[in-house]
């Protein structure tokens, strides 16, 4: 009897990546780089760097992109690059509120519901079901109309609507993690509920929530842009990406840069956030 030959594929050199992995890695670097650059630029703009986004310059009306005005100027001679950076700050605030309020509160509520179970879980389930069923865009528009258009109001109301989404997902993940052996072991060692929450459950839940967090942040930025575009966001002359696109719409055929650059900023930012979200999803598998 002859033993069958078994041929094993030779392992590649240590650390070698396939073309797909290399492409993905480049994408992650570019996405993270873009978001870092945007954050620094927006912070610098808020700190006063660059041109005043509200200053009119009647000698530079509707100028196309140049070295003096990288993204060109609008019909009042305002610098579109500076206005876009201030718009990035507005979008960044909405994203931050979504992470802190929507993600933070939502995940905490969901994890507590999944751990405590019983009446708490039933109550959280009922509230999330009701909230998800509400027509969010109409309510956001109404609240902004009543409370007045400020980026804080818009950010708070958008992020409040993401709380049920996070709560529901975090609860489902917690139900699975809470039954895992290492959590039971911690309980048999005498760990308190707080310690189980902070050391055993939350560290396991958070990586699984990261892809959803990134997708929701992208959605919140788009929602802010859409609200501003529809006129429910920041009022002119305050800059936001959606408002810039809306203002440039009337002059799309003569001064396309008024719409093009803010739209590109939204597209690249959303793409970057989604690329990072996909990376987190892959990493958490």
């Amino acid at each position: 009897m002859v033993a069958p030959e078994l041929t094993l594929a030779a392992p590649g050199p240590s650390g070698a990546r396939g073309p797909r992995a290399r492409f993905a890695h480049t994408g992650i670097v570019l996405a993270a780089g873009w978001l870092a650059l945007l954050t620094i630029s927006a912070l610098a703009a808020i700190a006063g760097a660059g041109a005043d986004p509200l200053a009119n310059d009647y000698e530079a009306i509707n100028e196309p992109p140049s070295l003096a005005h990288l993204f060109g100027t609008d019909s009042l001679g305002r610098d579109i690059f500076s206005r876009s950076m201030h718009g990035a700050a507005a979008s960044g605030l909405v994203a931050l509120l979504t992470v802190v309020l929507g993600g933070g509160v939502g995940i905490l509520i969901g994890v507590l519901a999944g751990l405590v179970r019983g009446a708490v879980e039933a109550f959280v389930g009922f509230v999330t079901d009701v909230t998800i069923a509400l027509p969010s865009l109409i309510i956001v528009s109404a609240v902004v109309t009543l409370a007045g258009p400020s980026i804080l109001t818009i950010g708070l109301i958008i992020s409040a609507f993401t709380i049920p989404l996070f709560a529901r997902l975090a609860r489902a993940v917690t139900l699975s993690i809470a039954t895992e052996n290492h959590v039971l072991v911690a309980r048999t060692l005498g760990a308190s509920g707080w310690r189980i929450l902070t050391r055993e459950v939350l560290p396991a839940v958070l990586p699984l929530m990261m892809p959803v967090l990134m997708t929701t942040v992208a959605g919140a930025i788009v929602a802010e842009g859409a609200l501003s575009f529809l006129g429910f966001g920041l009022r002119p002359p305050e800059p936001s990406w959606g408002a810039l696109i809306a203002q440039g719409r009337a002059e799309l055929s003569t001064a396309s840069w008024l719409t093009l650059f803010p739209a590109l900023m939204i597209c690249i930012t959303i793409l970057s956030v989604n690329v990072l979200g996909e990376h987190f999803r892959e990493a958490s598998r």
């Binding site: 009897m1 290492h182 039971l184 072991v185 005498g190 760990a191 308190s192």
Partner: protein, 294 residues
């Protein structure tokens, strides 16, 4: 009239049971249904003795352990009657704070699946220090780390400083279970509970792990409550035996007596089910010429 001289009243009574279980009954409630999974179980376990709980899968062995610890899976509506006193504290009626104190100070538990018992995201050294960082008395991080390293050395790790930095998946099954033993014995508990601690291990590693548990017990004088479906392990390692079936104790007594002269048919069936090398073969092995090896 007192049972003991006055001079002995402050010394611990070594004959007093560390674990005393009386008519423990656990009922699992589901929607419109209630089922007793542990029924009227009573036994005592004193310092230095070892007691095995044996029975087939589903006999209620693990549920017995969970009931006497007061730790059930989340979402399980388990209602416990009777009493389970650990060092005098009734775990069935104690408040959560007192129960956690007893779990921290008096009980060490070795679990079945060494991989799943360890948190996959923390290094094993961290998990050992974490395991004793609960409660009000919090030793310094440095002293906890030193104790964790000592505990790892005590269970046979050759380079505990380096190995403490490894993640659970980087250890073998036997090493992981040794970490489990180190965690369980770090506080030198009076009661050591093993819930099928060697089921997931091969026979050679199983022997080393059981030897290690015996060594730790000899050093600390802890009592051992060993849950196993392996009658051979129970026979070799434990002084007393409880045989469980469908949540109830069908027979109990000293191991040697129970294995040599079993009274209950179920105990006899369990003993008869142990595979023997010198026993009759129930299945004829095929020879190479009969099979399809060519």
């Amino acid at each position: 009239m007192t049972a003991f001289p006055a001079t002995e009243s402050t010394a611990p009574d070594l004959s007093a049971p560390i674990l005393s279980v009386r008519e423990l009954t656990t009922t699992i409630h589901t929607r419109g249904d209630a089922r007793a999974v542990v029924e009227n179980v009573s036994f005592d376990l004193v310092r230095g003795r070892s007691l095995a709980v044996v029975g087939e899968s589903g006999a209620g062995k693990s549920m017995l352990i969970r009931s006497l610890l007061g730790v059930h899976a989340p979402g399980v509506d388990a209602r416990v009657r009777g009493s389970a006193r650990v060092m005098g504290v009734d775990m069935a009626t104690a408040d959560a704070f007192e129960r956690r104190r007893v779990l921290r100070e008096s009980i060490g538990m070795i679990h079945q699946d060494p991989l799943r018992s360890l948190n996959p995201t923390y290094r094993v050294g961290t998990q050992l220090t974490e395991s004793r960082a609960f409660g009000n008395q919090r030793p310094s991080r440095r002293s906890l780390h030193r104790r964790a390293i000592e505990a790892m050395a005590a269970v046979g790790f050759r380079d505990p400083v380096r190995e403490a930095r490894l993640l659970p998946h980087e250890l073998s099954g036997g090493q992981r279970q040794r970490i489990g033993i180190a965690a369980a014995t770090l506080n030198e508990p009076a009661l050591l509970i093993g819930d099928e601690p060697t089921t997931a291990l091969d026979v050679t590693v199983q022997k080393r792990v059981l030897d290690l548990i015996d060594e730790m017990r000899e050093r600390t004088g802890a009592a051992l409550l060993l849950v196993t479906h392996d009658l051979a392990v129970a026979a070799e390692r434990c002084d007393d035996l409880i045989v469980m079936r469908a949540g109830s104790v069908v027979e109990a007594g000293p191991t040697l007596q129970l294995l040599t002269a079993p009274e209950h048919p179920y105990t006899r069936a369990l003993i008869d089910a142990i595979p023997r090398l010198d026993g009759p073969r129930t299945r004829r092995l095929c020879t190479p010429t009969e099979g399809n090896l060519s």
